[in-house]
Amino acid sequence: MGSVYRARDLHFPNVIKLVAVKEMINQAPDPLVRQTIVSNFEREANILATLSHPAIPRIYDYFSLDNRSYLVLEFIGGHDLEVIISQTEGFLPEEQVLAWAIELCDVMSFLHNHKPDPIIFRDLKPSNVMINQHNHVILIDFGIAKVFQSGQKGTMIGTEGYSPPEQYRGEASVQADIYALGASLHHIVTKRDPRLEPPFSFNERPVRKINPNVSAELESVINIALQYTPSDRFKSVEDFKQALIAAGRKTGLLNRINVGPSVIVQGNDIKPLWVFKCEDEIRGTPAYHNGSLFVGCYDNNLYALDAAEGKFQWKYATDGGVVSRPAVFEESLFFGSEDKLVHAVNMRSGKVVWTYATDGRVRSSPRIADGHVFVGSDDRMLHAINLATGRRAWTVDAGGEVRSTPFVTPDLIYFGAESGDFICANFNGNIKWRFKAKRSLTSSPWVYKDTVFVSSVDNHLYALDAKSGWAVWRFRMDKPSISSPAVADDMVFVGCSDAHIYAVDARSSKEIWRFKTEHQVNGSPVLYKDALYCGSIDGNLYCIEYKTGRMRWKFNTKGPITGTPVVYDDIIYVGSNDHLVYALLA
């Protein structure tokens, strides 16, 4: 379309006076159309030449030559806002954005109040705003190039991303400029380029979800400017400016008073229904059955508690710590221990039914199906054990310690190993397929709609085809993950040692939200009703709305939480490394 040149004005041979020369190419084939374009250009240039405002470059001259027209204007040193956005690491400070926004309102106000006719800028966007050496805004590219684009036909237009819906009905008004200013501010504070997003989708990207440092006040001002319906926006840029100033006063930013990050919800008033103290760390996950809670502990015991009141029922001692979550079948509980045994214990009495020996610590949790207990061991095997007799049916060599809990479907078993191998086997112990991640798979898989979800120490959350093991997608996190995914409503949730809990779209692998805790998230999320519950090494149990990623409350224990909470009948049960088992209202 054209270029801008940095030129030297030779009317002043003894000094260096720089000017900008904007060149526009007239591509219309029809001579009459071409002539109209040139006269439109000249008319616009004449209007601009009369404008005098510090944020509008001065126009020195214009001329046309063959099929090109030129505008000679003030040379502005500095960068345009689009460049500034992309070159800034992290986000621009809010007070800086506020200062520029107020200046933009001033110059827009000048244009909108132009006599005899108001001037609608129509094309406000970060790349049309320069920030000069003195940190003041200058509006460039007065849509003057636009007259050269009319007459071009085609089924494509680049929707600018900053224009309001009504502009596509051919309406250009003060409200259109207000929307575009709101869109530009949204881009500046979120660093999300609206041209890369579906048109008019700003409300799907709330400012503070992307940049939590932005004040709620500024966010709501931007939201008002971005309303679909013009009459819901500010009535004028003057109102817009006043709202910005008010937001700045409220947050104290205009007075350069630094406020700390805003405090979100606090859950200090949450009282547990009961707590139960064991003699060492609880690293694993409890199981609930029939009014009883069963939980393993590193004091070597498996405890049975009354779930309603947290009263002790019985304990069963092994010769090693118990991290394995017990599985329940009929009258018995099945779980592994660091003593290399799988224990089957009577649920009522706590008396042993049988034990089964492996050659390694048993940290995997058993699953029961088809008359067998399936459980992994540090002896690199997945063991299938006859439920009734406690005898070995078969083993599968996984090539690495099996610490993940197998997932069992009506005909297949899925599990990962520390070697990075992921294995799908049938009930006869024959391997159907094998997938290899770059590092270990400690996370326990979840199978949902023919897809296996599992996270890995290689920093990825994987989606594998359950029938063939082909990787459908992988989602990259910042650090390794041993957390086991939970799935609902085509959303996958997983924790990561980068301190986040992630929500990922199961079909597109796009991140839906992420929630930051204060330390690694090695435990696994659990979903109950509309909420997600997950513990963190920071000692907190978090309750998060799973659709939005918004925190409802957190509950602080005195030690890291590495297991998964269990929810039953509106009560959450969770163990912590502070030796306590907690029961909380969901």
Binding site: P198, K449, D450, V472, W473
Partner: protein, 303 residues
């Protein structure tokens, strides 16, 4: 068992007796019909068959065909599993631009070339080389590669591209523009699997205009995302189970713009096979005026 086969292939031997109720659509099914339905329902295909057919027409009002399409369905069956593999692409070059047909042709050639290249090592090398990337990463790479090539081969033009990669039971769709993919089920449900990247669809989603206004909106062909347009591109990529028992249909706006969902599902489900279904869909779009180039691909998985 022999009865089933006779019922399936027979009919020549002894035409069933005609009776008064034959013309009544709601009449109870005859014994022979029931048998044949049972036989089809219980038929098992080993290995799983992925079959595909396509149809294309320049339409009644355009002189140039700017649509391009690509289909490939294959089976490698043996002891190491038998994942069906298929790749189906429709690209609709931009009218009003020069080289629309160059753009759409470049798109299908580069996407298919890229994807097949990636799978070559896994399918044909000795020994098989496992894929390094996930299916979504491969399709994403293919579309970004196509974007680059379209910018190179046909600067200033643009094209839609809706591609479906089938591996095993998984259907991965990569999509930009306003060509569409549908799942059509035997109970006449028809489900749109893609979202048009068009301005009117967006305005409609926001309640700014109604569906009927959208259908006649002067800017209804305006896209906000297409291959060859702009420097950055964010295609939609999703994976879902293949509609087993149903049909996957991909088409350009020359088809969906003139036929309603009901008309489409009626034709697809009423046709004796997918080849005929494609022909009939193209014919129906032409009968409705054929204002644009028409392309359609239908795929089924028989298992």
């Amino acid at each position: 068992m022999m009865d089933f086969i006779k019922n399936l292939f027979g009919g020549k031997k002894e035409p069933p007796k005609r009776s008064a109720i034959d013309n009544v659509i709601t009449a109870p099914l005859s014994e022979a019909q029931l048998q044949s339905i049972k036989a089809t329902a219980s038929a098992r295909f080993e290995p799983v068959q992925l079959i595909v057919a396509s149809g294309q027409s320049v339409g009644r009002q355009r002189e140039l065909n700017e649509d391009s399409l690509f289909t490939l369905a294959s089976t490698i069956a043996g002891n190491s599993g038998n994942p069906p593999f298929g790749l189906f692409i429709i690209a609709d070059g931009m009218g009003g631009h020069q080289y629309g047909e160059v753009a759409s042709n470049t798109a299908i050639r580069s996407i298919s070339g890229y994807v097949l290249n990636k799978f070559h090592g896994s399918f044909f090398a000795m020994p098989s080389v496992p894929l390094e990337e996930s299916l979504q990463e491969i399709l994403m790479g293919a579309i970004m590669d196509a974007q680059r090539r379209v910018l190179q081969e046909a600067p200033g033009s643009g094209t839609t591209a809706t591609s479906a990669l089938v591996v095993g039971q998984q259907l991965t769709i990569g999509h930009v523009g306003d060509s569409r993919a549908y799942a059509i089920y035997p109970d006449h449900r028809i489900e749109l699997l893609t979202r048009d990247h068009s301005l009117v669809r967006r305005l409609e989603e926001l309640g700014q205009i109604t569906a009927s206004e959208a259908a006649v909106h002067p800017q209804r062909n305006v896209l906000y995302r297409a291959l060859g347009q702009g420097e950055s591109l964010e295609p939609d990529i999703v994976t879902m189970p293949f509609p087993v028992g149903g049909y996957l249909m991909i088409c350009s706006d020359g088809l969906w713009g003139v036929l309603s969902d009901d008309e489409i599902s009626k034709i697809v489900l009423g046709a004796p096979d997918i080849q005929r279904a494609c022909q009939e869909l193209v014919a129906a779009a032409n009968n409705a005026g054929g204002p644009d180039n028409i392309s359609v691909i239908i795929a089924r998985m028989l298992s």
